[in-house]
Amino acid sequence: MPDFDISPILESWQFLATGIGVTILLSILSMAASVLLGTVLGIARVYGSRPLQLVITFYVDTMRSIPVLVVIVWIYFAVPILTGINFPPFWSALIAITIHITASVVEIVRAGVESIREGQCRAGLALGMSWPQVILNIVLPQAAIRMLPAIGSVLSVTIKDTAIASVIAVPEFMKRAETVASQSYQPMEVFTFAIFVYFLLLFPTTRTVDFIYRRIAHLGRS
């Protein structure tokens, strides 16, 4: 068993810490964008016109069949050739991860919305509410609570996906750890440390979502 020397981690702690910051920022931004877009598309998937439904289904199934790595690399390298606009790696990663995660959110929103019994919509309409009112005031609040566990696992997937952004040199934690590992020639220490960091980032996050869900699950019952 070789010695465990953590000096490279201590020496570049600021470099690594800002990487963790970028990982968190990228995760929060892509998650927020995906939830927003996914909710809109998910509702359109259920209540929209038939052609719209088909287009959204096709988009979702396409994202289910293409690796996120491929989407990230394509957005970063191919989009500038097509449009002539160069995005910085961070923005490319944000766009690519959002496109990928939105597809998962669409499916979750669809399942959540469809789980609300139709009678409730009819009751709302019978009371004189408009469709947007029914969706916003009756369907979404209940569906949102039922969706929470699934959204929690998507959040965990999102954080893990940001590590893949290291292949286009987004200065997030995975990339930073890789840099420190190769410059210090101490990959064992640095990568093991990285495992700790990611675990400490992901484990409490998923546990918190589960905890919140257990506290509010009864609100989603009907």
């Binding site: 199934d61 069949s65 996120v68 790595l69 990611y198």
Partner: protein, 219 residues
């Protein structure tokens, strides 16, 4: 902007080999991760606390770190810890198996736990042994519930094999990215890569939907 799509056709053999490697990786990983997942699930449910704890730690660890980090870790750290030099392929396979068996363990555990406890009691009351109850009552029902989740994991795994490209395993994305950097036909190669993944992944995604519908359990 001039596009030259012939580059894709010129490299058809390399791309086909890469696609084959992607399939081989997916099949081998699942083939190893299913038995390992079953072992981990039974460890988790066993009476011995230390076994259960060990399994829980393994599962929680590998479910809560990015696969790409497991790949890097396996590539750089395993050779330091044990004096055996694995090929990139074996290393990638080990990383994938570690990750997927953790997911499978949770799947199997949830499947076994989803069979109501009353059924176990009923079996025991009828004079069956613990083993018989597991074999005759719980596992057949659990299997139905596990299969759709395994199908979903399969589709994710198929996509995740792309991540072993970072340690130069010659699967589809590594091959395509290599041709891209040698030929500078960036747009063509990246689009071809996406389309090939799509052609392989789309039927699998649809198949997993079908499995889900077919085996759905309603209580």
């Amino acid at each position: 902007m001039t596009l030259d799509w012939s580059i894709v056709w010129l490299n058809k053999e390399a791309l086909a080999e890469g696609a084959l490697m992607t399939i081989v990786l997916t099949v081998l990983t699942m083939g190893l991760a299913v038995p390992l997942g079953i072992v981990l699930a039974f460890m988790r449910l066993s009476k011995w606390r230390s076994l259960a704890l060990l399994s829980q730690c393994f599962v929680e660890l590998f479910r809560n770190i990015p696969l790409i980090l497991i790949v890097y870790w396996s590539f750089y750290v395993i050779p330091i810890l044990i004096p055996v030099q694995f090929s990139a392929f074996t290393t990638g396979l080990v990383a994938l198996v570690l990750c997927v068996s953790a997911y499978n363990a949770e799947t199997f555990r949830a499947g076994i736990n989803s069979v109501r406890h009353g059924q176990t009691n009923a079996g025991l009351a009828l004079g069956m042994s613990q083993f018989q109850v597991m074999k005759e009552i719980i596992l057949p029902q659990a299997a139905r519930r596990v299969l759709p989740i395994l199908a979903t994991t399969w589709v994710s795994l198929f996509k995740d094999t792309s991540l072993v490209s970072v340690i130069a395993v010659g699967e589809l994305s590594h091959v395509a990215l290599q041709i891209r950097s040698q030929s500078f036909r960036v747009l063509e190669m990246l689009t071809a890569m996406a389309v090939i993944y799509w052609m392989m992944g789309y039927p699998q995604a649809k198949l997993s939907d079908w499995v889900r519908k077919k085996f759905e359990v309603k209580e």
